[in-house]
């Protein structure tokens, strides 16, 4: 029934790659001051790799921006530096000074933590450097409201998203013209699924943070989920007590702030094993993150209208 794959039939990974590269080149050609939001996770890793492909032999002609919450895993900070060096790109880091001053943390402040460090932090950073287009690694398969977001997604001067007023995107034509004060979030890997991301990392040897692989790590339980104790003294200070630490073989399906990112018990030490486990798993990807559940079924949609990536 199926035809053998001939030279003219590109694989789905090849088509997705070509599409992402095309999008990045359009942005560079039409935006005044683009930037790539780099969260150090696996989606960011793939997006960065695609950018290096898009502009080779030039380095990608825009900086990397990390909106830091100060609560990321240590291994993520190490990877961040390594990738900036390898890609030859400028690395910009922004930490919301207001959140730092108020000592905002994921334990005491719940949703406010994400709001202050990430949502507000991102707006501040974009305003500070005057970026008019920011690449993000969001995918449409992640969450229901993402499934309807355009590849070029416009934000008002106050960084809000209006899902009812999106520009139509036909063929591969993107209208990058902005009104005064507007900025664009661009999602070049919109059409990738989690499996595609893993497959691409596998095929291209894209470097990723070791936390994605299982290893014996210090863990503690908090509100029924398993977390990694990445910085025990800081954890103790914020919690007011020393949580019970158990060594367990765990890994992470997504990476964010260590107190917000649930670990899963696992023995998958190689990439194929990780992919295998991912495919056989029965809970969806964002389950490990606390953020989506905040506002009931429409959590992410509400967050995005407020300016969250």
């Amino acid at each position: 029934m199926s035809k053998p794959t001939d030279r003219a039939t590109l694989t789905h990974i090849q088509r997705l790659e070509a599409e992402a590269i095309h999008i990045m080149r359009e942005v560079v050609a039409e935006a005044e001051r683009p930037v790539m939001l780099y969260s150090v996770g696996k989606d960011s890793a793939v997006m960065l790799h695609l950018a290096r492909k898009a502009f080779f032999p030039s380095p990608p002609p825009f900086p990397l921006l990390h909106v830091d919450t100060t609560w990321k895993f240590q291994a993520m900070y190490e990877m961040r530096q390594r990738m900036a060096t390898e890609s030859g790109m400028e690395l910009l880091i922004h930490q919301n000074p207001e959140a730092a001053e108020k000592g905002i943390n994921p334990f005491d402040h719940g949703p406010l933590h994400t709001d202050m460090w990430k949502t507000e932090g991102l707006k501040q950073a974009l305003d500070k450097w005057g970026f008019d287009a920011a690449f993000g690694g969001a995918r449409r398969d992640e969450e229901k409201s993402r499934a309807k977001e355009r590849i070029f997604s416009f934000r008002t001067a106050s960084h809000g998203w209006d899902p009812k007023n999106q520009r139509p995107e036909l063929w591969n034509l993107y209208n990058a013209r902005k009104n005064k004060g507007e900025s664009i979030r661009v999602f070049p890997i919109s059409n990738w699924t989690e499996l595609d991301i893993w497959q691409y990392i596998h095929l291209n040897d894209v470097p990723i943070v070791p936390l994605y692989f299982a290893e014996e790590r210090p863990t503690y339980e908090w509100e029924g989920q398993l977390f990694m104790a990445d910085d025990i003294p800081r954890l103790e200070k914020v919690l007011g007590y020393r949580p019970e630490i158990k060594m367990k073989s765990v890994r992470f399906r997504t990476l964010g702030c260590f107190p917000l990112t649930g670990a899963v018990e696992s023995t998958a030490k190689t990439l194929p094993q990780v992919i295998q486990e991912t495919l056989l798993t029965t809970t969806s990807e964002r389950q490990g993150r606390v953020i989506d559940k905040d506002a009931g079924g429409a959590g992410m949609e509400v967050k995005k209208q407020q300016g969250y990536f």
Binding site: T9, L10, W171, N175, I275, A298
Partner: protein, 642 residues
């Protein structure tokens, strides 16, 4: 698990065993999958969302936590009683879930052993035609759903027409809800016969019909025992085997629209873009359009190493043997079969914006990496999407589809849409709001432009100007009614006349008594008014005159259009910047009073907008200076005269 009939024994989906036993083999298989993008058309009532939910469910794209949420939601807001409402998986935005309708395009993903699928789930109602066209523009195939109880409806015809219009060649007629008609073959056959007659009438050459039930899972992944009379493929079997666009494109002549010039250092100069059609190899002769310069490809560069061959659908960077000019917007093509260039086209337009088409207004036209200024002529006709009848129209409103001629301000490299989606499909962008207002498809270039040549005249515009011992100019006065445009322009002309300058004053009211007596004050007429005045001013400037024009000319777009007609520096925008309160207080002609009382419609500043210039060459404020002072100021600004 649940009480829904699952199809876990289906051989198509027994991939879990392979994942568990030999992940490397599974990844190898997944790596070589091709991709099919398709669109589903139909209304909520046709079971479209249910069908997509079913595809996701059957292909294991729904995780346990999602399933748990789905079960809860189904009981709370579902429409299927105690059973799972698959539609809830698909209807994304909160507002949509509350209203129970799909209002935007949502993209869904699933895999089988052979392919990855991207489904564009589009709303079915007529007011969402634009969303459907958007979803269809990237699709290889369309699944048109019909409710077996209802047969071919108006919306079936509309969806089929739109899919055909956008160039989808693979059409699946999915006769859904067969369970509700007792899987009756006669019902199915009657619907297919009915549809075939319609399809032929609009030019659809072939389609694949199948009896299904999204709700029960019949003929989706497994052949249904309920339809022994049906011998064709299941929906999934069909989706897995149809040809995708990129394989067809690879057999066409080579074209690559240049997106970006890659110049990291003096030793490397590459041209980056996505190959729109054909293939390219080092050593091949290519031509750069529109310049027509030729060279030879030396390298097809990627980060993973140079390619022996680049094919349609790949993003690459090309290097040439010669240093020829090539930049963003140019098209690299195989040397002996280049595409054409033209500046006038017959096009099919789909209007996407709440603001209707303004005939004659200049919009940005983006095609591939080319962006030019273009105006749309009055449509020849619009198509009634329900009956396919041609209707005479003056403009195109939201969701309208029409045929109209487009005139660009310079030639663009193109191919008819039927031959090449990338070089034939375009969008129109409003120059002021930046909204994407229309999608268009080039049918053909107009011969008119090719056959009407410029007749060279021996006495040139430079000769005209030299004899008058002056450089031609167009002093374009713009401002609100009652701002003082005519008065000041008159003062300026008097002074120029004294200075032995050859001038002519075109006044708004006067022109409307003659040349433009057929025009009213609607937006379309205002645009045409300015276009004609612009053309006349240009002819007069060609004759060597200094032209003064006094028109409200409320829209930036039209003033910029006139500026673009003239050589650089000849258009001088004079903004008579009088605040509305001051102009209204003067009310020399009593027009503001009429407008305020509602006796006069479309009056600028009252119920019709005025868009002030952003960077006028000269600005005069009549609240602070007299007409004489303003005229002096303008003359001084224009000095020294040559």
């Amino acid at each position: 698990m649940t009480d829904v009939t699952t199809t876990t024994t289906d051989p198509v989906y027994v991939t879990e065993a392979l994942i568990a036993e030999d992940i490397e083999a599974y990844l190898e298989q997944h790596q070589h999958k091709t991709m099919l993008r398709f669109i589903t058309c139909g209304s909520v009532d046709d079971g479209k969302s249910t069908l997509i939910g079913r595809l996701l469910y059957d292909s294991k794209m729904i995780f346990e936590d999602q399933l748990a949420a789905l079960e809860t939601d189904s009981k709370k807001v579902g429409t299927q009683g105690q059973e799972i409402d698959f539609a809830l998986l698909v209807d994304g935005l909160a507002a949509e879930r509350e209203q129970g309708i799909t209002i935007d395009v949502a993209y869904r993903f699933f895999n089988t052993e052979k392919r990855k699928f991207i489904v564009a789930d589009c709303p079915g109602h007529e007011q969402y035609t634009r969303n459907m066209v958007t979803g269809a523009s990237t699709a290889d195939l369309a699944v048109i759903l019909i409710d077996a109880r209802k047969g071919v409806l108006v919306q079936t015809r509309r969806h089929s027409y739109l899919c055909h219009l956008i160039g989808i060649r693979n059409i699946v007629l999915a006769v859904n809800k067969m369970d509700l008609v007792g899987y009756d073959q006669a019902t199915f056959d009657a619907i297919v016969k009915d549809y075939a007659a319609f399809a032929r009438s609009i030019g659809i050459e072939s389609f694949t019909a199948m009896p299904i039930s999204g709700f029960k899972g019949d003929n989706i992944t497994t052949r249904s025992a309920q339809t022994p009379w049906y011998q064709g493929p299941t929906l999934i079997e069909h989706l897995e085997s149809v040809e995708v666009i990129t394989s067809r494109d690879a057999d066409k002549p080579f074209r690559l629209p240049v997106q970006w010039v890659n110049r990291p250092n003096l030793d490397f100069r590459g041209f980056s873009g996505l190959i729109a059609s054909g293939t390219v190899k080092p050593g091949e002769a290519v031509r750069v359009l529109p310049s027509g310069k030729t060279s030879t490809v030396t390298r097809v560069v990627t980060l993973d190493g140079d390619l022996d061959e680049g094919v349609a659908g790949q993003s690459v960077t090309l290097c040439f043997a010669d240093e020829i000019d090539c930049s963003r917007g140019d098209v690299i093509a195989i040397a002996d079969q280049p595409p054409q260039s033209a500046d006038q086209f017959e096009t099919t337009l789909v209007w996407l914006n709440d603001e209707p088409l303004h005939v004659g207004r200049a919009y940005w036209l983006k095609l591939g990496a080319q962006t030019v200024s273009a105006t749309v002529q009055q449509p020849k006709y619009a198509v009634n999407v329900n009956t396919m009848e041609h209707v005479a129209v003056k403009t195109l409103e939201l969701n309208a589809i029409g045929v109209a001629q487009i005139i660009a301000d310079k030639a663009i490299v193109f191919e008819p849409y039927a031959d090449n989606r990338t070089l034939g499909g375009f969008v129109l962008i409003d120059k002021i709001t930046n909204a994407t207002v229309a999608a268009g498809m080039i049918q053909f270039a107009l011969r008119r432009a090719q056959n009407v040549h410029w007749q060279p005249t021996d006495v040139t515009r430079a000769d005209h100007a030299r004899l008058k011992n002056q450089s031609p100019k167009v002093l374009w006065f713009t401002g609100l009614s009652g701002a003082g445009k005519s008065t000041i322009a008159n003062e300026v002309e008097k002074r120029l006349n004294v200075m032995n300058r050859h001038t002519f004053l075109l006044d708004g009211d006067n022109v409307r008594h003659g040349l433009n007596k057929d025009l009213g004050f609607t937006e379309a007429d205002r645009i045409e008014n300015i276009r004609r005045v612009g053309e006349v001013a240009k002819l007069m400037a060609d004759a060597g005159l200094i032209v003064l024009t006094a028109f409200i000319s409320p829209f930036r777009a039209e003033r910029e259009m006139v500026r673009a007609m003239l050589p650089e520096g000849e258009f001088v925008e004079v903004f008579v910047d009088t605040p509305l309160e001051v102009a209204e207080a003067r009310d020399v002609k009593g027009l503001y009073k009429k407008a305020r009382s509602g006796d006069l419609k479309n009056f600028t500043g009252i119920d019709s907008p005025y868009e002030p210039p952003l960077n006028p060459e000269i600005r005069v404020n009549t609240a602070e200076m007299t007409a004489e002072q303003a005229a002096e100021h303008i003359i001084r600004q224009l000095m020294p005269w040559k």
